[in-house]
Symmetry: C2
Subunit: 382 residues, 2 copies
């Protein structure tokens, strides 16, 4: 398996995104460029074979000063954990010449990246993503952040890493539900670039290889370079996230993982686009098949759908003058996706009704999540 090397650029800063089985090869020499290295990881990741291997490589570099362990998932993305992390850095003697290494999924790169962004007003960091979500999305682009009660990523900073090193073997030990959740973001990239759809469908729920991961990461790298601060095209990456964030909140961030909520959000966006005459029913069916094929939900209960509708309007991405959508538009035999689309509230209501399981004529049980585990690991998706 070859290792892809992407060149990411944000403002004046540029860094490499490496994806493949030899992605971690430059880690030791990178570590030696800095006075000292401080790993931030999570309870679960620390114990995985991949986590142990990465820590071992850093130990051999002779620069590893500290392994700071966050709680898994969203519990690591709090003010108190940020303070604890910064205090651990102070106690272990971190300086402006130190390197923070985020070893873990999206929650770890969000939290560790925020610690690096604010410690001494910003020190360098490198991301070693261990989840699908982190490899194709969270670790790339420099968005870091923590949560407040009632608002995910309410507090954060733009702070691009020095490198993102993704070894797909880290995905081998992912809990199945977390793998499926990460696939939602992969399906999202296929929705943004429908030429990827057949490759996503061919996965049938398995982890993607380095090639497909690199294609997704490249889409993100390119959008971030064009629009570092998310004033324009980078908003495309929010496809499915407007309703999706509402779904996540409607389930109190427990019932649905981020990926499951985004899957429902993507299905919703395509339904809404159909309602307002931007696409036909075939495009809707094609996307729902891709999501269901990846083991993801595309429906929720009417009560949940109503609650999600209320909550999405209070999401941080609202503009003063109402919601702006990321929606597909028919283009030849396929579609293209646009941002900042205004939609008639009546059409939104109809689309809500359609993704609500109880009232939907088709009642596709394949697309509905039955019993949900409340495991901590499952909550660590972004």
């Amino acid at each position: 398996m070859k290792t892809a090397v992407l060149h990411a650029r944000q403002g004046g800063h540029s860094y490499e995104v490496r994806i493949g089985s030899s992605a971690l090869a430059p880690l030791a020499s990178l570590a030696r460029k800095y006075g000292s290295v401080f790993v931030v990881t999570s309870k679960r990741v620390q114990k995985t074979p991949f986590g142990k291997r990465a820590l071992h490589m850093l130990e051999r570099s002779g620069r590893l000063k500290l392994v700071h362990v966050l709680p898994d998932g969203e519990e690591g993305k709090t003010f108190i954990e940020t303070e604890r992390g910064a205090q651990a850095l102070v106690r272990a003697g971190a300086t402006r010449q130190s390197l923070v290494t985020a070893l873990g999924g999206g929650s770890v790169s969000d939290a560790a990246g925020f610690i690096a962004a604010t410690f001494m007003r910003g020190i360098p960091w490198v991301a070693l993503p261990t989840t699908l979500l982190a490899m194709v999305d969270a670790a790339i682009g420099g968005k870091t952040g923590i949560n407040l009660p009632g608002m995910k990523n309410a507090v954060g900073a733009f702070h691009p890493p020095e490198a993102v090193l993704s070894d797909p073997r880290a995905l081998l030990t992912l809990p199945p539900r977390e793998l499926r959740s990460g696939l939602a973001e992969v399906v999202k990239y296929a929705a943004l670039d429908p030429t990827l759809l057949w490759r996503v469908n061919a996965l049938r729920g398995r982890a993607p290889g380095a090639d497909l991961l690199a294609a997704c990461a490249e889409a993100k790298v390119s959008l971030v370079a064009r629009d570092p601060l998310e004033h324009g095209p980078r908003k495309l990456l929010n496809l499915g996230h407007t309703f999706g964030h509402g779904v996540e909140a409607a389930g109190n961030f427990e019932r649905f993982t981020h990926g499951e909520a985004v899957a429902i959000g993507i299905a919703f966006a395509f339904r809404l686009a159909e309602k307002v005459g931007r696409i036909g029913p075939l495009a809707v069916a094609e996307m729902e098949d891709a999501l269901v094929g990846a083991g993801l939900p595309v429906r929720l209960s009417l009560a949940e759908a109503r609650r999600a509708t209320v909550l999405m309007a209070s999401d941080k991405k609202r503009a003063a003058s109402g919601l702006r959508w990321v929606l597909p538009r028919e283009k030849g035999s396929t579609w293209t996706v646009e941002w900042d689309v205004v939609a008639d509230p009546a059409a939104v209501g109809e689309a809500v009704y359609e993704v609500a399981l109880r009232d939907h004529p088709e009642r596709r049980s394949a697309g509905y999540i039955g019993r949900m585990s409340r495991s901590r690991n499952a909550r660590s998706a972004r």
Copy 2:
């Protein structure tokens, strides 16, 4: 009294620094450019005539949504207060289109600026400084931050404001010790540009007028523009701060205000420069006279001096390869100041001995602080 308008520039961002009795005139129209305005202030400032006037102006703009009050001084610069501030913004409905207004001294602009820097990954803010220190230093240049136990400004961000509006009338109600502490930074600018020395000496401890404030602020604006991230000439602003931070820490951040510690630090820097043959004894005497004339200390006890020496080496500004100093060098009949100067540890030891009161042959009692009050207000200097 005319109002000076300086144009500050940092990276791609530019903003106005207004200093004078009509500096607040643009406040209402500035507020109306934003969807909503959220004031962050402190207990003391909120009750001053100037604080009340500023709040009244914002109320009349029709955009004021919240007045969030921090504890005075360093107690407002904590993680828990940052979290409370961000939560207050969420609850009051702040969005990316909101404006944070920092109304207060250096601690308020540090803390409120950090809240603005990280809320939703950065929203705009404006500074209304109410102390001398904030007007000539803290509010300009975009450095924001909070403290950790054992490390001041350990966590923060570079986030320049939209405007700095300084009305010198805010200084009328400053506690005397806080005014003197602020004068230490004014004396520092005179040390960097000795042509200002006679104007500083003419104050004899009174608050400077808009002209001298503007001259100091202009020096800061110019250094920040040349070196936004403090890799070069901006380090000049740390004159007196290397030993000064040690002095502050040696006094547990209670015995000395920041300004008093910096005054001792400036005296120390000039002594050290003399020891290594960069300047003569006249320059040392000239600076000490300016500091003592402003009511500031230039000596401390031997025990304190020794403790400060140990603590300055663990300050965050140390480089891996040892301390770098900001020191004057003789130039014609006056001096110029240089950064990143390496000094012989033996010379540092001799200079420590000279600023230590007990052992100094001159024992200038005018330069020593006698009984110190532990009032909270006195601790709010930067």
